[in-house]
C-alpha cells in the first residue's frame, strides 16, 4: 500500500494543480513563467508540508505559497506587479474557493458552468471569445479574422468576459442558495 509522504503529496498536488494553474495564469501572463512558478510553488509546498495545518484546506495554503512566489517573481523581474494588489489576490482566492465548493469531482467539472455561460453569450461576443481562446487568434490577426477593427475586437472581448463573469457569479450564488 503506498503510504510514503511523496505518494500522499502527489495526490494533493494532482488534485490542486488545475486551480493553482488558473490562479497563476490570472496573475502571470507569460506561459513559461506560469510553468516555472507552478514548479516552485509545488516544491516549496513539499519542503514545508510539515508546517501545513491539516485541519485546514490544502488549496488556500498552496495558493498562499503561490502568492509569495508571484511577488518574488515580479521583484526579480523589476516589473510593477499590477496583479499583486492585496484586494485582487484576495478576490481571486475567494473565487477559487467558491469554484472548489462547486459540484463535481474534477476542476473541469467544477467549472462546467463556464461552458454553459459561453453558450448563452450573444453570438458576436461568443465568436470573439471562441476565436481568441479556442482558436488562438490574438491582436490584429484576431481583428482580421473577425473582420473588425482592433478596438472593436477588444471591446467585444472585454464585454464578453464581463458577461461571463456576471453569469458565473449568478450561478455560484444560485448554487450556494440551493437547498
Amino acid at each position: 500500500m503506498p503510504t510514503t509522504s511523496q505518494d500522499l503529496f502527489e495526490i494533493l498536488a494532482r488534485e490542486h494543480a488545475p486551480s493553482l494553474t488558473a490562479y497563476l495564469r490570472a496573475v502571470v501572463k507569460d506561459g513559461s513563467a506560469v510553468d516555472d512558478l507552478f514548479q516552485e510553488t509545488m516544491l516549496a509546498a513539499w519542503r514545508n508540508i510539515d508546517t501545513f495545518d491539516r485541519s485546514r484546506p490544502f488549496g488556500p495554503w498552496l495558493r498562499g505559497i503561490a502568492a509569495k512566489q508571484v511577488l518574488a517573481h515580479y521583484r526579480k523581474s523589476s516589473k510593477n506587479c499590477v496583479y499583486c494588489d492585496e484586494v485582487v489576490l484576495e478576490q481571486l482566492e475567494a473565487r477559487l474557493e467558491t469554484i472548489h465548493r462547486q459540484t463535481g469531482d474534477t476542476f473541469e467539472e467544477k467549472i462546467a458552468g463556464l461552458r454553459e455561460c459561453m453558450s448563452r453569450l450573444p453570438p458576436n461576443y461568443r465568436h470573439a471569445i471562441t476565436a481568441r481562446y479556442s482558436e488562438g487568434y490574438k491582436g490584429q490577426s484576431l481583428a482580421d479574422h473577425l473582420h473588425l477593427s482592433l478596438e472593436n475586437v477588444k471591446k467585444r472581448l472585454q464585454r464578453g468576459r464581463q458577461l461571463l463573469a456576471e453569469c458565473l457569479e449568478r450561478k455560484w450564488i444560485a448554487e450556494a442558495n440551493a437547498p
Binding site: 503506498p2 501572463k29 513539499w46 491539516r54 496583479y83 478576490q91 467549472i111 472585454q158
Partner: protein
C-alpha cells in the same frame, strides 16, 4: 455587479489581458473596481484552461517534472524533518488520503474500457496543440497518395493537396470559413465547404469531414462499435461502423493512441463495400510532429502572395 466599478475595471482589465500592459497601476482604484478586475483576470485564466483545458500532455509533463524533482527534495527534507514527517504520516488526514490513494490506484489498475479510451483521445484531439499528420491514401482515383494535414484542436485545419497534373493547392477547413489557395489563380473563400468542391478538382471524392481527427473520433464514439485491443505500449481502438450509419463514413477505423495522454499517433480508415462517392479505399494517418505554428498558418493569407485576388463566395 457595481456599474461604476465596471466602467473602470473592464477596460483596465482589458488593457492588462489583451494588450499585456504590465506596467499599469492599480493604486487609484477603489476596492470594488479591484474586485471586478480580479474577476476579469480569473475569467481570462479559466477560458484558457477550459477551452483547451491545458492539454493532457502539458499537464502530465508538468506533473512529471515536479515528481522527478521530489526524490531529491525528499532526501534533503527527510534529514531535517523526519520527526514531523512521522506525525504527518500518522495523521487522520493521511489515513483519508491513503484511502483515496488506494481508490485511485485501483481505478488506474482497472482496465480502461474502449469507450473511456475513445473519450480520452477525443479530449486530447480537442486541445489547442498544433499537430502535423501525414496521410497516405490508397485504392482511389485520386492522383495523389500523400497529403500533409495540419490541425490545431478541433477548429483549425489546413492541408496541402496535390491534384491532377501535379497542380497543388492549400486548403483550409475552419470553423468560420473555408478556403482554397491554388498555386496560381485567385484564392477562393467560402462559408460552406461544399461551395469549394467543384473548384477543388477531385476533392468531391475526399471525405473532408473525417480529415479532422476530433470529428473522426466523435463519429467513432457515436456511430461505431468499439473494442480495445490489449497492447502494452499504446491503446489500439478497433471500431466497426454500426449497420445503416452514415454511408460515407469508413466501415472500419483503427486508432492507436498514447496510453497516458490519449494522443492519436496513427489512424487507419477502411471502406469495405462499394462506395460511389468516395474514391479512396484506405486512409492511413500518421502523426509526424507537434511543432507549434503561428495561428496565421491556418489562414489562406499565409499560403499565397499578398497581391493575389481573393474571391469571397
Amino acid at each position: 455587479m457595481n456599474s461604476d466599478a465596471d466602467d473602470k475595471a473592464v477596460p483596465w482589465a482589458g488593457r492588462v489581458i489583451d494588450d499585456e500592459e504590465a506596467t499599469l497601476s492599480s493604486e487609484s482604484m477603489d476596492e470594488a473596481t479591484k474586485r471586478q478586475v480580479a474577476d476579469q483576470l480569473l475569467v481570462d485564466a479559466l477560458l484558457i484552461e477550459s477551452l483547451c483545458p491545458q492539454s493532457a500532455t502539458d499537464r502530465e509533463k508538468r506533473m512529471n517534472r515536479l515528481l522527478a524533482s521530489l526524490p531529491v527534495e525528499s532526501a534533503v527534507s527527510s534529514r531535517s524533518h523526519a520527526k514531523s514527517r512521522r506525525r504527518w504520516i500518522t495523521s487522520v488526514a493521511t489515513f483519508a488520503a491513503c484511502v483515496s490513494l488506494m481508490l485511485t490506484f485501483w481505478t488506474l489498475a482497472a482496465p480502461m474500457s474502449a469507450e473511456a479510451a475513445v473519450e480520452k483521445s477525443l479530449r486530447q484531439a480537442e486541445c489547442l496543440i498544433d499537430r502535423h499528420y501525414e496521410l497516405t491514401m490508397t485504392g482511389g482515383a485520386l492522383d495523389q497518395t500523400k497529403l500533409d494535414l495540419y490541425l490545431r484542436g478541433n477548429r483549425l485545419s489546413c492541408f496541402h493537396l496535390v491534384g491532377p497534373l501535379k497542380i497543388t493547392a492549400w486548403v483550409g477547413v475552419n470553423s468560420e470559413h473555408n478556403w482554397l489557395a491554388p498555386k496560381v489563380g485567385p484564392v477562393v473563400v467560402a462559408r460552406d465547404f461544399s461551395e469549394l468542391r467543384e473548384r477543388l478538382l477531385q476533392a468531391a471524392d475526399l471525405p473532408v469531414q473525417i480529415l479532422q481527427i476530433a470529428d473522426l473520433i466523435r463519429f467513432v464514439r457515436d456511430d461505431f462499435e468499439v473494442t480495445l485491443k490489449d497492447d502494452p505500449s499504446q491503446h489500439h481502438i478497433q471500431a466497426r461502423k454500426r449497420p445503416g450509419f452514415r454511408p460515407l463514413l469508413p466501415d472500419h477505423v483503427d486508432l492507436w493512441a498514447d496510453r497516458d495522454t490519449g494522443l492519436i499517433t496513427r489512424a487507419v480508415l477502411q471502406w469495405m463495400g462499394p462506395v460511389e462517392k468516395i474514391a479512396v479505399r484506405t486512409i492511413d494517418f500518421k502523426l509526424v510532429d507537434e511543432t507549434p505554428r503561428a495561428v496565421e498558418w491556418y489562414d489562406h493569407r499565409f499560403h499565397h502572395e499578398p497581391d493575389r485576388p481573393v474571391i469571397h463566395l
